[in-house]
Symmetry: D2
Subunit: 322 residues, 4 copies
């Protein structure tokens, strides 16, 4: 009977626990044994694992975070990391390692593959920036969390006729900002895929105010601007109060949405099925609602596409013409 390893790695994403449970349930159906390593690659290097059966994971499906901890393993990315990990996996007789995480995780996986380890990647990141899939696990939950918070913020901002400057997560990708802004009826959207100057933003805010909007909502993806500086300029140049809000880690946490539960199940089950069919060294994805695979070696070199069509739709609908 095969032995399967599994890690959750990098930033955690809602659905990781549901995915882990699906791996264990499906593996158990096939008679496989599951070794769950703690703290991502760190646990592999340190031979720190627990063998899981159905009962052990019977209560984790709804939980956010990752019960086996997720983390970036600095040591792994140093010279000896991958070979240490490969030795541990060999010694334990692990057939294939399932790595649940994002792009950083696949880079690590790629190093292991070069050493002969078999790996299957599962896309789990709220940022939705994985090439191999239309949607990564955690994204829908993060956006639903963000939208709920933006709607709450809007109710108080409108009561005080303030401009709201709301920063979402997303690393280098504008997806969370785009989806959150669209679904919350925000007025102005700033994504790294279409950089704007502070002057341009000021014009957009003024346009909104001129159209009679007494409390415009600006949604921007992180790492683009100095929020305090932008806030001050908006106040100085529009004469309206402005408040800056960082949605932060509240986007990441919490019980997964139905959509992310589905991804978790489909990814987890498919990973085990692929192992049973002798498939490895791919990242799983869902394209057009069907499970697909991409070689990990390709996945680490390619960038996820920003939905320019939806961004265009937002701009047209909200008359964002600058």
């Amino acid at each position: 009977m095969k032995k399967i390893g599994v890690i959750t790695s990098g930033g955690d994403a809602p659905g990781m626990n549901a995915c882990l449970k699906s791996v264990v349930d499906m593996a158990s159906n096939l008679g496989y044994t599951v070794y769950a390593f703690r703290r991502g690659y760190t646990g592999v290097i340190n031979n720190d694992y627990v063998i899981l059966n159905r009962e052990d994971v019977s209560k984790i499906f709804n939980l956010g975070g990752s019960i086996f901890m997720s983390g970036r393993c600095l040591e792994f990315y140093q010279l000896s990391g991958p070979s240490k990990a490969a030795k541990v996996l060999n010694k334990l007789g692990i057939d294939t390692l399932i790595a649940i995480g994002g792009n950083g995780t696949y880079n690590g996986a790629n190093e292991l593959i070069k050493l002969g380890v078999k790996v299957i990647g599962i896309p789990a990141t709220i940022d939705n920036d994985v090439y191999s899939t239309d949607e990564s696990m955690g994204f829908d939950t993060a956006v639903n969390n963000a939208v709920q918070m933006i709607i709450n913020i809007q109710s108080t901002m409108r009561a005080n006729e303030r401009v709201a400057l709301i920063e979402t997560m997303g690393r280098l990708a504008g997806d969370i900002a785009l989806y959150s802004a669209m679904a919350s009826e925000s007025d102005i959207l700033l994504v790294p895929e279409d950089k704007k100057t502070e002057d341009e933003i000021l014009e957009l805010v003024k346009d909104e105010i001129e159209r009679g909007n007494s409390s415009p909502t600006v949604v921007l993806a992180e790492k683009q601007f100095d929020l305090n500086k932008l806030n001050k300029r908006i106040q100085d140049e529009t004469g309206k109060e402005c408040r800056s809000i960082i949605l932060g880690y509240m986007q990441r946490g919490g019980s997964p949405t139905v959509n992310d539960r589905f991804l978790a199940i489909r990814y987890g089950v498919s990973a085990v099925q692929f192992i049973s069919q002798g498939i490895s060294n791919v990242v799983i994805g869902v394209r057009d609602d069907r499970v697909v695979t991409t070689p990990i070696a390709d996945a680490v070199n390619l960038k996820s596409n920003f939905r320019a069509d939806l961004y265009g739709l937002f701009k047209e609908l909200h008359r964002m013409e600058h």
Copy 2:
């Protein structure tokens, strides 16, 4: 400048108001006038409408239900209904009527088309049983509502080690049941697309209990069984307490999820864009995440596909072998 009519018709679905708002916003961008008729086709027949501008719909985006009421119009389906409606629309100079609803709504639309009225259908129904689209507006909200309730029910059922028999909506389609059962980790799933006898169900429940599950959850789509009778048999033949719960209208109501907000916007905007391009007599849909159209005449004759692949996945994962 063109005049557009819009109705919400049939059972209401979360997202109808967001869709109506998107129609008005986009129409306003293009300089069109929007006539919203009250109570679906009833309002058309009775010349009962209001002209909407951006300001009128500025606060409806988040609301469940339909502010202009939705309803089945018995009179419309009688001999003179469609011709009365066509006369009203002609007299008002409506270019195209946007009909937001499900299959019954498209049947009505088809009658109007035969009389020379131009119509665009938008799929809005929690049942997800519209042929022309992968997903109808309202479905994701209904499933998320259902899953939240099932999880709550499970917490109390497990505390009392009872069997739970939970009925979802769905008319003739098993989609709500399938998605809800999968995302709530329910144990047994009964859909009209794969009919089972009471005896078979009893076997499935007994299998679960034999595997050590002290509180199995059975999710079943409506209209398949006499709940009270099935409940009694389960109690009598397993010796365990069983409780029947109808999720009912709580599935239908409430603020739409991000996914349904996106569908609402994309459908609403696309409908207006199609009108500006001279396209009509189609039902809009989203296939593989792209907006597509299907002739209404075809849509009314074809059935939506049940996701047999996902149903198979559920059965395999949950060892549902009878």
Copy 3:
């Protein structure tokens, strides 16, 4: 060091797990050992328990239901039940048994007290019908759940201009109905503390319709009427469609509100503190936001007061004059 027993008994209530955790944390601070019996009095009779430390309960605070199961123990209420239970507790050297539950639980506790067992009762029931406290743990969560569902139901009922007939839990007490109706702006409220005939209800519904309400909401506590019969009369005599909805177990489940978390902590900590002070055979309560105690022997004989002042307020505000 003292040994403490703890059970959750009767219908489960949100907050039971948080309360159990607070008992364990506080007991651990004082160096006491906690014996948790499974399935209420059943576990005591059967010597079925687990010894809990801080680590064992570190992840249960947010969970609905009861991880040690709650249940009505038929055997306990038979002749030999209490004496069997008393023997087990004596043999284990349990100093005091903390019984988390409602009135039925206190009846059982009273039998144990007669046999020399020391017991402390903690009021946990969504029905809010415990004499010894202003508010029992679980009530606030149940009402918040109910209100969320009623608001969802109203959005769809209004879209179809239907009368909604919504049944809440509450056993013999109208509290859940009263608080849910008030906080959801329902129109008509039917509680067992002020019985009305079907004719009177019909008049109230007609009053609402005459005032221009096209979709009245009627909230009624369970066990008062034949819903189907009342539904039919409303439809026949008002000419409007009516839908009956049973909120059911969805009220009971789920993560506790802040208020119920506070009650859980205060009750759990106080119980342990009372034990350290040699106090027993009382039910804990909160009156005017202060922790108080009532002898269990009194608690089982007295009825909780219905808030006639708030009911009067509802009737006045909603012009419910029949």
Copy 4:
């Protein structure tokens, strides 16, 4: 028939709209006319109002924020502000002004009272720092919002074994921090009512880590510390990663909880009843669940009491001994 004025003033609080609606409904029952001024005292000074009937407020009960805007009116607090406002109210023939807000609002009211205007204050502020009541409207919603966010944050912090430093609102009062920390099982609580040094905080964090807590949660009320500096010290001196999160405006927004809906109704109805009874110049409150009044002149001079008993309970339960 009497004329009643009403304003929402200062920071908005969930329940303001529900309260406004209750004022209008009750006033309408008594045949009074309601003048709602926009933007708090600003609208009074500028004679900017709308007369409200039942129909106008029929859809606002569930909404967060304040539909008539709330705001601090700088002009009002200048020399001529109160006399301008008094003149407007006199000219309109307003019998009594209902001022929904917090301490700043009562200061303004007190100035009006000196000029012969009759005012009734209603405590609405998430900070819970109003002397005249046990609980101000909006507080329960803010705490429930905060707890939901903290629980989400904890799920991701634990997955990465980080220290979380979470800042709540509260101005000068520690109530939101206290209730949020208690109900979220946070580990360390820092309130302005019991000031601690950075060194003491470091000791508390180290205590938690030594007890085996790999991801301590620190909740602190705003305006006490430089978050960045404290964060850095924690990282430097414990060797663990730490993240700072400001819950911010997400606490304030959103639909009110059942508790705040009750306060809104009771305050709104009572205000109108007091007016009908000739009572004025008081702030309404709820003490021990009964409606009480405090002269506004007293209310502005007295401070709300911090719940030292609950704070002591938190410290004992969480072994916070520094």
